[in-house]
């Protein structure tokens, strides 16, 4: 009598930020195997097609370009970059969520201006026009994501008076 049952295989750990395709076959207890069945069965499975990708959510943020000392009101240059990082401390290139920047340490009582919420591209959020309107020593910025809830504080930097 033919027999039938549902079978499952848990595959992993798979590499993050990678795309996979797969095929399956049945194998009996004496080692006989069926022909391979590509996934999805109805559409076939060319070698270049992706069946699924692994994109694990980031587990931490990192300032890949820290803020540097800048004059009052001037855009902080080079542009600050915050990168979403996976468990392996590698960039979560699939992450496209928003990253929001706020002032954490505010010795001068300044206000952060510019585009403070930026969508990540390939896991990297770039803040190109941030500025602070008061001078002070030891400012820090905090970068935050909502999903997942992650945050990180930058290294301290100074806002200096403009030269006359």
């Amino acid at each position: 009598m033919p027999n039938a049952s549902a079978a499952s295989v848990t595959v992993g750990p798979l590499a993050d930020n990678a795309s996979y395709h797969w095929q399956a076959r049945a194998k009996d207890n004496v080692g006989h195997t069926s022909a391979w069945a590509a996934f999805p069965i109805t559409l076939g499975n060319p070698e270049t097609a992706t069946d699924f990708s692994v994109q694990q959510p980031p587990v931490q943020l990192g300032f890949t370009v820290e803020p540097v000392s800048t004059a009052v009101g001037a855009a902080i240059t080079p542009a600050i970059q915050v990168t979403a990082l996976g468990a392996n401390s590698q960039p979560s290139t699939g992450y496209t969520g928003n990253v929001t920047m706020t002032i954490e340490a505010n010795p001068g009582g300044g206000t952060l201006s510019g585009t403070i919420t930026v969508a990540a591209v390939a896991g990297v959020a770039t803040f190109a026009d941030l500025s602070i309107n008061r001078a002070g020593t030891g400012f820090t910025l905090r970068a935050t994501t909502f999903l997942p809830s992650l945050t990180i504080v930058s290294a301290p930097f100074d806002i200096t008076h403009r030269k006359p």
């Binding site: 027999n3 079978a7 990678a18 996979y20 399956a24 076959r25 049945a26 391979w36």
Partner: protein, 319 residues
């Protein structure tokens, strides 16, 4: 003139029962009889003469004629004495003398060999015993059972009354719907026989078989066939049913490992483990079937663009 005694027989010879083939002194004959021949003569030319013979095992001394006299012949003619009922595997010596129609006998003359001839009558092998059947791996097959291999080992113990004979085990294996006719397979010959095996196959699958065996010696002499199983020859001794390949799996799906929600084709798994499911089946009842996977990394990320694609064969647990 007074009657005289016959003279000594001349030109003694021993021959097989075909009366043509001479047996050399000391040679072995494969029959339990022999013919003795000699030329007879008597001084009394008118006497009719006959050959008187005594044939004894070499360990037994001569004591007097023990063979029926041969037919009467004329003077100076060859005469015969037929000796039968000889004991197998025994060495003999013999002597003859001439008797005449007056009841007189001449002197004895021995043939001269020691032994003069040896009787060794070949016998057919004994019927084989302890017939058995097993799979190719040696696992026994119960009578009437079905094997999942197409090679079977048929075995039996063969023996022969004649020491030193080279014995083979011959078998005839037929589908139960086919009557026996001639041997199909044989073992190699072995001195004195013993437990022998014949490896038979590959046999067609999905077929029931019956078989029989016999022993054959180096002369081609055989015993009678012995059928296996003690069952009617319309009954199955063993069947062959090779396992089939499983069917291709069906209903394949890829699921997220946590909540088992389907991952659409081309979709994203937020976890580095993925559950692959499918329906597996096999035409052979009683088989266990597992899902066997091969996954391939089709595209690397921008992190390591030079990493070549790799394959990972992942045969895993079932269900």
């Amino acid at each position: 003139m007074h009657p005289q005694l016959p003279t000594s027989p001349q030109a003694l010879d021993q021959r097989l029962s075909d009366s043509v083939t001479s047996v050399d002194p000391g040679a072995t004959v494969n029959q339990a009889s022999i013919l003795l021949r000699a030329a007879l003569s008597d001084p009394d030319l008118g006497d009719s003469l006959h050959l008187e013979a005594e044939v004894r095992p070499v360990a037994v001394g001569f004591s007097g004629p023990n063979v029926p006299n041969g037919l009467a012949v004329g003077n100076r003619h060859p005469a015969w004495a037929s000796v039968g009922g000889l004991t197998d595997k025994t060495s003999y010596h013999w002597r003859v003398r001439v008797g005449d129609n007056t009841g007189r006998s001449g002197p004895w003359v021995s043939f001269g060999g020691n032994p003069d001839f040896v009787v060794n009558v070949p016998h057919p092998p004994n019927p084989p015993t302890t017939l058995g059947q097993a799979r190719g791996d040696g696992t026994g097959i119960i009578t009437g059972a079905t094997a999942d291999t197409d090679v079977v080992i048929l075995s039996a113990t063969v023996s022969d009354p004649d020491p030193g004979d080279l014995l083979r085990l011959e078998v005839e294996v037929r589908p139960v719907s086919t009557t026996f006719s001639s041997p199909t397979d044989s073992s190699d010959p072995v001195p004195d026989g013993g437990p022998l095996q014949v490896i038979v196959g590959p046999l067609p699958s999905s077929t029931n078989y019956h078989w029989r065996a016999r022993a054959v010696d180096q002369t081609g002499d055989t015993c009678s066939w012995v059928a296996y199983g003690g069952n009617p020859e319309t009954a199955t001794d063993f069947g062959i049913a090779l396992p089939h390949d499983p069917y291709r799996p069906d209903s394949l799906a890829q699921l997220q490992s946590g909540d088992l929600l389907p991952i659409p084709v081309g979709g994203v798994s937020p976890s580095n483990t993925v559950v692959i499911t499918g329906a597996v089946s096999d035409p052979d009842g009683g088989q266990t079937v597992q899902l066997d996977l091969e996954g391939r990394w089709v595209r690397t990320s921008s992190i390591s663009p030079t990493t070549p694609a790799r394959s990972c064969r992942t045969p895993r647990r079932r269900r």
